[in-house]
């Protein structure tokens, strides 16, 4: 049996006095596509932000490909990971954000070349070729020299995906990537995610409000409620029938 790609062990997270996550246990298998749904404030985003090292868990541990993400061994004791350790472990993880977060002072092409050149020490020519290949893949091969301010929200989000893909992550995190988009731009972004998912190599975690989409591409759906995984299963299990009242009332709001 395959080892899990990512393992959450009793992960808690508090912001001040508010405990957002109350003990998350979760295994993500290689190439597994997991959709995380749930009411706002349930801690969905916090889960993937901790995996991306943007947020430190209050307790518990996260294991990525066998390595403890937030802790490291120092003279026989486990201590909070330093920047160097985080960099070593998070190299296989990529993330796409709700608000794109493209670098506004760089062209589309530069957005996708900077990290490979500076982080992975790739040479400029191969980084450029790879960036163009990925931008072509997301349908933006003709926008290379544009700046982020010159393209639409849907295009920005597709650039953000190309920017993450050039780093060849084994795990891709999607944080409500269509929530900030005008309705007519949502589909073009979902289309790209679908393509990536069908290639199948990456572990993907999608925090989303697009229920149809989650049902479509996810192998497993997690329903997060009040800081715990309240329900999980295959899309048909979770979306089909459920004895969980909270899940039921949550899903009913998405049905007409």
């Amino acid at each position: 049996m395959n080892e899990p790609m990512v393992k959450f062990k009793d992960v808690h997270k508090s912001f001040g006095d508010v405990e957002v996550l109350k003990g998350i246990n979760l295994d993500l298998m290689p190439a597994e596509k997991v959709a995380v749904i749930g009411p706002s404030g349930s801690g969905k985003t916090t889960i993937i932000r901790m995996l991306m090292t943007l947020e430190q868990p209050t307790s518990g541990s996260i294991i990525v490909d066998g390595e403890n993400l937030w802790q490291m061994e120092k003279s026989g004791r486990l201590v909070t990971a330093n920047e160097k350790h985080l960099r070593q472990v998070r190299g296989d993880i990529g993330m796409v954000f709700q608000h794109f977060n493209l670098f506004p002072h760089m062209t589309i092409l530069q957005n996708c070349m900077t990290a490979p050149i500076h982080v992975k020490q790739e040479n400029k020519a191969s980084a450029k070729a790879r960036a163009i290949e990925m931008l072509d893949k997301v349908g933006l091969g003709d926008k290379l020299d544009n700046y982020p301010s010159q393209i639409s929200g849907g295009q920005k989000q597709r650039v953000a995906m190309a920017r993450a893909l050039v780093m060849r992550p084994k795990i891709m995190l999607f944080d409500e990537v269509t929530s900030a988009l005008d309705p007519e731009l949502v589909e073009e972004v979902l289309e790209v995610i679908r393509d990536i998912a069908h290639e199948g190599r990456m572990t993907m975690v999608l925090v989303t409000h697009e229920m149809e989409f989650a049902r479509d591409i996810a192998d497993r759906v997690l329903f997060l409620d009040k800081g715990v995984i309240a329900e999980q299963g295959t899309p048909s299990e979770v979306f089909g029938h459920s004895e969980n009242e909270r899940l039921d009332s949550f899903l009913r709001r998405f049905r007409r």
Binding site: M52, T53, L54, E83, R87, R90, G91, I93, G94, M95, F97, H99, N101, L102, F103, P104, H105, M106, T114, A115, H118, V119, Y147, S149, A160, R163, A164, M167
Partner: protein, 223 residues
């Protein structure tokens, strides 16, 4: 006729002062911006002691008068501590650049802090190191925000160079004062010309500030 003669007398003398004014300005610009960046980054440092010391420097130099700082550097320091800053040129340059450096360090700090947090997060997600995040993502955007303010301070610095005449430097104002004291009736003409000199020197700086404002509007994600 009288005024034209006066102009002919006054102009060549005043122009001798330009060299000092401009050289004090240029040296102050270089040292002032350097101070601003060093102090600005120190105030953002993780090291508490470094932060406190820099904060103390900034508040002292913002909170006291530039003329008094100038006199301290030139007259008081050599007597109290035996520290000679070298010449009245360096005393003037140091006073101006430490004073304006303190103000501008706040611009540096504020601009860096106002780059949207999502920028740092996106850079982290691309596995950039702390230094790379600053150098490649945050700083280039922060600089664009600093530029218009920096332009304003350029003009202020030019005007404050006139203070060095008080420690015996032969700048434009110094020659103006000499002319006025030798012939009081020429005072209006002398000081009018002094004003015009400063204004002409400021023109390129004003133009530069406008340019910088235009440039800074592009390519920033602020909070």
């Amino acid at each position: 006729m009288i005024t034209i003669n006066a102009l002919n007398d006054v102009f060549p003398i005043l122009i001798q002062g330009i060299k000092i004014t401009v050289s004090v300005l240029l040296a102050s610009i270089v040292l002032g911006y350097l101070t601003a960046f060093v102090a600005g980054f120190c105030r953002l440092s993780k090291n508490v002691i470094l932060r406190k010391i820099t904060g103390f420097y900034v508040e002292v130099f913002r909170g006291t008068s530039l003329i008094v700082q100038l006199f301290w550097l030139y007259y008081a320091f050599p007597i109290l501590f035996g520290i000679e800053v070298g010449s009245n040129f360096w005393a003037g340059v140091l006073a101006i650049s430490l004073n304006y450096g303190a103000y501008m360090s706040e611009i540096v700090r504020g601009s860096i802090l106002s780059v949207a947090k999502g920028q740092t997060e996106a850079a982290t997600a691309l596995n950039m190191s702390r230094f790379q995040r600053m150098r490649l993502v945050v700083f280039p955007q922060a600089v664009r925000m600093m530029l218009p303010e920096f332009g304003n301070y350029l003009i202020l610095m030019l005007k404050s160079t006139s203070l060095v005449s008080l420690i015996g430097m032969t700048d434009i104002l110094y020659y103006g004062d000499i002319l006025r004291s030798s012939n009081l009736s020429q005072a209006p003409m002398v000081y009018l010309l002094v004003l015009i000199f400063y204004f002409i020197l400021a023109l390129p700086l004003i133009w530069l500030t406008r340019k910088l404002e235009g440039f800074s509007k592009k390519g920033v994600a602020s909070q």
